[in-house]
């Protein structure tokens, strides 16, 4: 008798949980803080729960391919061809950027100027000293020291690396030929740190080191961040405004599933190493995808403040509207 009662109580409990919608997602680590902040608010307001596992973009793509989650998340967009093969839909959800950071006691926190060629040659091992004439002429007001450059990069596959190498490939033919771009590449020089914290730690440790980390990370840890010369010839510092300028100038196309990489955008305020993090949905499972779309639609409407507080950049309004149209076209809204 007792057992029976327990079983009934258990069933009741299970059905009680099932009433609230539970959304599962997996993938990119870069947007994890903002997704989890959104999901906390979403649960408070709607009672629905998002369970997001930041297992990395590669894992996210595999999970949605196997249809084990409601949505996958990837820092690098999939090409329309790949999406069709895997029967997936794709849209951007949040924007971030990558900044060069360095440790030069001689200049302290002065913002140094870089351009594509300088970063490319440093990461190819062709510029090896900080007082290299090319670097010096980019920074007329600063006396750069005669110091060996220690190159630091990510050792784990990451969306940060994807944006960094994609930018270098776009602006530097030698990089494109010798290395190419991807979430991990065959680095010609440098030592690898695991995660943003690993790179930041190496940079802090070695005098003369240069590394690249997510913008969020330099803000939180007060690391020096270099300015980069954009396509219009202006040196711009990373900030929410310059990321948004880059995103606003982007030619998103919903017919191409928003396949577009935001690096090296035109516009005088555009920060050149900007990128969006993408969401992947399964075409053949509208019920699952609808749950995810509901969440992101809510986040697009109510999540901007939260994103900015965490140093992420919300999508511009016109892009959000385009994504909503995309959802409607695919019968998800």
């Amino acid at each position: 008798m007792k057992v029976k009662n327990l079983a009934v109580a258990g069933l009741l409990a299970i059905s009680g949980v099932a009433l609230a919608v539970e959304i599962t997602g997996a993938g990119a680590t870069f947007p994890y803080p903002v997704y989890s902040a959104w999901s906390y608010k979403y649960q408070q307001e709607t009672g629905n729960k998002l369970n997001y596992q930041s297992i990395g973009s590669g894992g996210g793509i595999r999970q949605i391919e196997n249809r084990t989650v409601d949505f996958g998340a990837s820092d690098a967009p999939l090409t329309p061809k790949e999406l069709n093969e895997k029967k997936l839909l794709q849209f951007p959800a949040i924007i971030g950027g990558v900044v060069p950071t360095y440790n030069l006691p001689e200049v302290g926190n002065t913002q140094l100027n870089f351009d594509g060629k300088a970063l490319c040659y440093i990461y190819l091992g062709k510029i090896t000293k900080w007082n290299d004439p090319y670097l010096q002429q980019l920074n007329p007001g600063v006396k750069l020291p005669d110091r060996e450059i220690t190159v630091v990069r990510r050792s784990d596959g990451s969306g940060t690396t994807f944006l960094w190498t994609n930018y270098l490939s776009k602006v530097c033919p030698e990089w494109e030929k010798q290395v190419g771009y991807g979430t991990s590449v065959n680095w010609p020089v440098g030592i690898g740190g695991k995660g943003n914290e690993g790179v930041a730690n190496y940079v802090k440790r070695f005098r003369g080191a240069i590394g690249y980390v997510e913008f969020v990370y330099t803000e939180q840890n007060k690391l020096p961040a270099g300015k980069i010369k954009n396509r219009d010839g202006k040196f711009v510092a990373a900030s929410i405004e310059t990321f948004q300028a880059a995103a606003a100038n982007a030619k998103w196309d919903k017919n191409q599933h928003f396949y577009y990489i935001l690096t090296d955008q035109p516009g005088k305020d555009s920060y050149p190493i900007t990128g969006a993090s993408f969401i992947l949905l399964a075409k053949d499972r509208p019920e699952s995808s609808k749950k995810a779309v509901q969440f992101f639609n809510w986040a697009f409407k109510n999540g901007d403040q939260e994103a900015i507080r965490l140093h992420y950049v919300p999508l511009p309004e016109n892009v959000k509207n385009m994504i909503r149209e995309y959802w409607k076209e695919n019968g998800l809204m």
């Binding site: 680590t29 297992i55 990395g56 973009s57 590669g58 894992g59 793509i61 690098a76 060996e148 220690t150 050792s155 784990d156 596959g157 990451s158 290395v179 190419g180 771009y181 991807g182 979430t183 991990s184 590449v185 065959n186 680095w187 440098g190 030592i191 690898g192 740190g193 695991k194 690993g198 730690n201 190496y202 440790r205 070695f206």
Partner: protein
């Protein structure tokens, strides 16, 4: 009478059930699990095996995710070098510790020392990694390695080992951290072996007028040699598979180190770093292939140590 029979039957039934449960558990853990791990590793890596070929993969230094060209030589060599150096550092220390604990330490201090050393084995490896990165690496990069360079750079051959810029993120630091991690295992195996030496052998040696050092050198070590070797190899197994601590201090560079001060990579580090973002089938399959190589290496190492230990037991069973 009837009740007794019933009770007996019940006990017998219980025994059969219990025996078969234990048997199943043993078969599952001892046979099915490793075999199925091997099969799934092999299945997942079959794409890379077909594509690159076993020999080609093992001898290629390529690791280019963009061009989709993969080879395992660099992490394989890195694993072997760091394991070898760690064992080289840990072996004499462990034997010394064991000798001290068994023969020299005052009886009251023995439990304190052995507990302290065994506690070392219980520290999670990520803590060793963080300690290595934040404490040991700066110390080595700024003090120890420049000093080593000054001392040895003009010595032929050995000087070559200390070339390059001292950063503390390199083969030397990694091997040292690894050696500290395997010392507890090694020293406790060697200690147990020393304890197994029949007292009568030691006593007869003393009776013949041998000193303590002579007893250790000529009685204990020869008797336990094969067990010491077994313990060494067992710890090698641990060093082969160590991941977290190595990731922190190895530098994660896909190159075969030419000096002790070069950053490098190992199989486990390559796996831990790249598994999550491996986005193409051949990339993932190549990582599985690396895992398979490590699995086979560890298997042989453990097998070897088991044989050594068995030989000792046969030889000295009292």
């Amino acid at each position: 009478m009837k009740t007794v029979n019933k009770a007996l039957r019940k006990a017998k039934l219980l025994e059969t059930v219990f025996k078969s449960i234990l048997g199943l558990a043993a078969i599952f853990v001892g046979f099915i699990l490793p075999v199925s791990i091997f099969i799934s590793l092999y299945k997942e890596s079959s794409l890379a095996i077909e594509h690159f070929g076993i020999l080609n993969f093992i001898t290629s230094t390529d690791w280019d995710p963009v061009a989709q060209k993969f080879g395992g030589l660099v992490p394989l060599v890195g694993t072997l070098i760091s394991t070898f150096l760690a064992t080289l550092i840990a072996a004499p220390l462990s034997i010394g510790i064991a000798i001290f604990l068994v023969e020299l330490s005052p009886n009251r201090l023995k439990p304190i020392f052995s507990t302290a050393i065994e506690l070392l084995a219980g520290i999670p490896s990520i803590i060793y990694g963080m300690w290595g990165l934040f404490v040991l690496a700066p110390l080595f990069g700024e003090k120890v390695e420049p000093w080593l360079q000054d001392e040895f750079q003009n010595v032929p051959l050995i000087g070559k080992l200390f070339e390059g810029s001292p950063t503390g993120i390199d083969v030397l630091t990694t091997s040292l951290v690894l050696s500290i991690m395997i010392i507890p295992f090694m020293s406790s195996v060697v200690k147990d072996a020393f304890n197994m030496v029949p007292p009568i052998m030691k006593e007869s040696a003393y009776a013949l007028g041998a000193t303590k050092w002579e007893v250790i050198k000529q009685v204990m070590i020869p008797i336990t040699a094969s067990s010491i070797a077994g313990g060494l190899i067992l710890s090698v197994g641990r060093a082969l598979g160590e991941t977290m601590a190595v990731t922190f201090v190895a530098g994660n560079v896909n190159q075969i180190p030419k000096s002790l001060l070069d950053p490098f990579t190992t199989i486990t580090v390559a796996l831990a770093n790249q598994f999550t973002e491996a986005d193409t089938a051949i990339y993932l399959s190549s990582l599985y292939f690396l895992a398979l190589i490590l699995f086979i290496m560890s298997f042989f190492v453990l097998y070897l140590s088991k044989i050594m230990l068995l030989r000792l037991e046969k030889k000295w069973k009292v």
